[in-house]
Symmetry: C2
C-alpha cells in the first residue's frame, strides 16, 4: 500500500467520456489498496478559450483578474472527476488550490509554490477518500487566487507528492513516456524506460514537451520519483529518478529540438567589466529569456556578443537594445530569424569528450551549417537553420544509435 499522486493533463480530461475513463483508472489504483491524490488540469482547450474570452473584453487583461478567470477551468475538472469517481462508488472529494493548502508567492500568472499545508488532504485520505486537487493554482498569503503559469499542474502534482512524502508521482499525458526523440519527427524514436532528473530537465527545457521543467526541478530537489505515462493505454511509461540504470554504453539518451530560435549579435561593445551584466539585466527586466550566450573579443577595447532568444521575442529584444544603444555604444546590431536549436542529451556525456565532435561531424556530413554552439555537462546544443532542424534530429538519432528496431506507436 503506497501513497500515489497522479496528474492528468488537459487532453486526458478533454471530454466527459475521458473524465469517466480517468475515473476508472484512479478507482483501479484505489482498489489496489493505494492512497491516491489526483491533480487535474482544465478540460481540453478550456484555458485557451478563457484567455480568448478575456482578450475579447480587453487587450491587456490584468494578471490578477486573469488568474481569477483561468482557475475556474481546473475547478470544473475537479468537480466533474470527483462526481465520476463517486458515481463508480469510489469515495472522493475535490479541493481547490486554497482548500488543498497550496500557498504561493504574491504574484499572478507565474507564482511559485511557497508551501503546502497538507492537513486537509491528509484528513480526507484518512477517511478513505480519493482527493482530487485543482492543478495550476494556489492562494497567496493575502488570500488572492494565483496561478503557477504554463505547466503549472505538473508542478502542483510534484510539489504535493513532495509535501505528502508520496511514494510516486505519475504524470499521465497523451504520449506513452519520454522518447529518445519526438516520434513525429523521428519514426524510429524509442521510449526510454528510465531517465535521470538531469536528463529529463534538459529534454524538458529543450522542448520535449511531456513534462514541465519546473516540475522536474522540483522533483529533483525533493527526490520525488516520477513516471511519465499515457492515460490512453496500459503501456508502462518512463521512470524519472536520481540514478538511471544506464543502458549499455549509451552515452546519448535523447535528441531534442527547440523550433523557433533567433540570434542577436551586438558588435563592437566596449570591453568593460560591467558590459555583459548591464546588457543582460536590461533584457531580464524586459522579461526576455536569453538562452545561449557567446562572447568574442576582437581586441582589447571591443567585444562582440551573440545570444539566442525565442523567435517571438526578437522584435522586443531589438527594440530594447536600440533604446539603450547610447548607453552600450555598440557599433551595430545584427539578427537572424528562422533558426532552431538541436540538442543531444545524456548523463554519461561528461566523461566522453568525443560526443560533441561526433555531433558536429554528423551535421557537417548532412551539410547543415552550425550557427551557435552551447554545451553543458549532459548536453550539446547546436543552433541550425529551422528548415534543417528535423533532418538534423533524425541524423543525430541514427548516428548515436538511438533508433529502435521497430517503429513505435505514439498515442494522443
Amino acid at each position: 500500500m503506497a501513497l500515489i499522486v497522479q496528474k492528468y493533463g488537459g487532453t486526458s480530461v478533454g471530454s466527459v467520456e475521458r473524465i469517466k475513463a480517468v475515473a476508472q483508472r484512479v478507482h483501479r489504483t484505489r482498489e489496489a489498496g493505494h492512497d491516491v491524490v489526483v491533480v487535474v488540469s482544465a478540460m481540453g482547450h478550456t484555458t485557451d478559450e478563457l484567455i480568448d474570452l478575456a482578450r475579447r473584453v480587453t487587450d491587456r487583461p490584468d494578471d490578477r483578474e486573469l488568474d481569477m478567470l483561468l482557475t475556474t477551468g481546473e475547478q470544473v475538472s475537479i468537480a466533474l472527476l470527483t462526481m465520476a469517481l463517486q458515481a463508480r462508488g469510489c469515495p472522493a472529494v475535490s479541493l481547490t488550490g486554497w482548500q488543498a493548502g497550496i500557498t504561493t508567492e504574491a504574484v499572478h500568472g507565474r507564482a511559485r509554490i511557497l508551501s503546502i499545508d497538507t492537513a486537509r488532504v491528509r484528513r480526507e485520505l484518512e477517511q478513505g477518500k480519493v482527493v482530487v486537487v485543482a492543478g495550476f493554482q494556489g492562494v497567496t498569503p493575502d488570500g488572492e487566487i494565483a496561478t503557477l503559469g504554463r505547466g503549472g499542474s505538473d508542478t502542483t502534482a510534484v510539489a504535493l507528492a513532495a509535501a505528502l512524502g508520496a511514494d510516486r508521482c505519475d504524470i499521465y499525458t497523451d504520449v506513452a513516456g519520454v522518447y529518445s526523440a519526438d516520434p513525429r519527427v523521428v519514426p524510429t524514436a524509442r521510449k526510454l524506460d528510465v531517465i535521470t532528473y538531469d536528463e529529463m530537465l534538459e529534454l524538458a527545457a529543450l522542448g520535449a514537451g511531456v513534462l514541465h521543467p519546473r516540475a522536474v526541478e522540483c522533483a529533483k530537489k525533493h527526490k520525488v520519483v516520477l513516471t511519465v505515462r499515457s492515460s490512453f493505454t496500459e503501456e508502462e511509461g518512463t521512470w524519472v529518478k536520481e540514478v538511471a540504470d544506464m543502458e549499455q554504453g549509451q552515452v546519448v539518451r535523447g535528441v531534442a529540438q527547440d523550433k523557433n530560435v533567433a540570434r542577436v549579435t551586438a558588435v563592437g561593445l566596449p570591453n568593460k567589466p560591467d558590459t555583459l551584466a548591464a546588457l543582460f539585466t536590461i533584457l531580464a527586466e524586459a522579461n526576455i529569456n536569453v538562452d545561449i550566450i557567446i562572447q568574442n573579443a576582437y581586441d582589447d577595447a571591443r567585444i562582440s556578443v551573440s545570444f539566442s532568444v525565442a523567435g517571438e521575442d526578437l522584435p522586443r529584444t531589438l527594440e530594447v537594445l536600440t533604446k539603450h544603444r547610447d548607453r552600450f555604444g555598440f557599433a551595430s546590431l545584427m539578427s537572424e530569424e528562422g533558426l532552431a536549436k538541436v540538442s543531444i542529451v545524456g548523463a554519461g556525456m561528461v566523461s566522453n569528450p568525443g560526443v560533441a565532435a561526433a555531433m558536429f561531424r554528423t551535421l557537417s556530413e548532412q551539410g547543415i551549417p552550425i550557427k551557435m554552439v552551447s554545451t553543458s555537462e549532459i548536453k550539446v546544443s547546436c543552433v541550425v537553420p529551422q528548415a534543417d532542424a528535423e533532418r538534423a534530429v533524425r541524423a543525430l538519432h541514427t548516428a548515436f544509435q538511438l533508433d529502435a528496431a521497430e517503429r513505435v506507436t505514439v498515442h494522443g
Copy 2:
C-alpha cells in the same frame, strides 16, 4: 455620495458586449461620486450548461461537488466584468464569495448566509475601487464552497447591502421594473413606481419572477431600499421600500399567477388533534412544499383536507401519502392537475372587505370556476383551471383599474 450595491443577472452579463455595457453603467455610477459594489450572476445560461455537464457525468451529482462546479460560473463573470471596468480606466477588483467574507450554513445547494465580514470589501472601497462580488456563493465555516440556490445572487446583493449599510440596492434585470401584471399576459400592465416589501414579497412568491422572495425577505428584515430596473434601458425602475406612497385609492397593486399547481384532497381522515400536524410533517420531510391548505369537517369523526402543491411535486406527494395510508386511515385520495393560482396583491386590501368579493365576481362573470381560495392581509388567491389563468389575470387587471392608458414596452 452614496454607497450603492448593484446586482446584474445572467441576461445582463450574457455576452462580452453585455459585460462591456454593464461596465459602462457601473463606471457612470462611480464617476457620479458613489461607492459601488457590484454583484453578478453567471453569464447567460452558464449555470444550466454546467448542470447539464454534471448530468452527463452522473445522474445524481453530489451537492458539494455541484456547488464546486456551479460557482465557477460567477467567478468567470466577476473576472470579465472587472477587466472591462479596468479597460475603461475604472479601478476595480473581483472577489469570490469566500474572499468577500460571505459565510453560509454548512449545507450545499441552498445554503443561507450566516454572516458577512465586510472588512475586505471596505478596504477595497477605501482604495477607490469598484468591488465586483460573485453572487450565489459563499463559504461554510469549514471552508467548503456553498451556493445559495436559485435566486441566490439577489440574496447576495441584498445581504451585502445590509451588511455594508448601503444606501440602496439596485437589482438590474431584463425588465424595466415590477409590473401590475406580467406584460406578456396583460398588454396594458403598468410599471409600478413604488411598492412595499410585503407587496413585493407576495408578488415575488406568486411568480412575478423579477426578484427572488428570499432577497425581498432579507431586504424587509434589514430595511434595505431596493430598486428593480432594466440593465438594457435608462428607464427609472420600481422602488421597493417599507411604506409606499399609495397611488390614489388603488387597493390592488398587482395581479400575479403561478402557472403549474395541483390540488390533492384526502377524504375521511379521523378528526383527531394531531392529524394535520402529522400529515404535513410527513410532506415537509419529503421536501414537498405545500401552499394553500383547506380543511372541511364532514362530521365530528371525519375531516377532509385539500391542499395545493407545485404540479411537478404531485406524483411524489401521492406516493408519500399512499405509503402512509394505514397510518392516517383516509377513505380516499383525490387529485387534480392542470391548475393555476391567480392572485391580487395590495397592502391596502386589509381595510377593504369588498376586494375578495369583487375578485370572485370578476371570475364568475368570465365563467371561470374557482377550485380553492386563500387569503392573507395583502392578497387574495384563487386556484383556477390552467387554461383560464391568463384570461383571469387580464380580467382582474381591468376590473381593479390597473390598466395603463398606453401599452408599455418591456425589454429583454
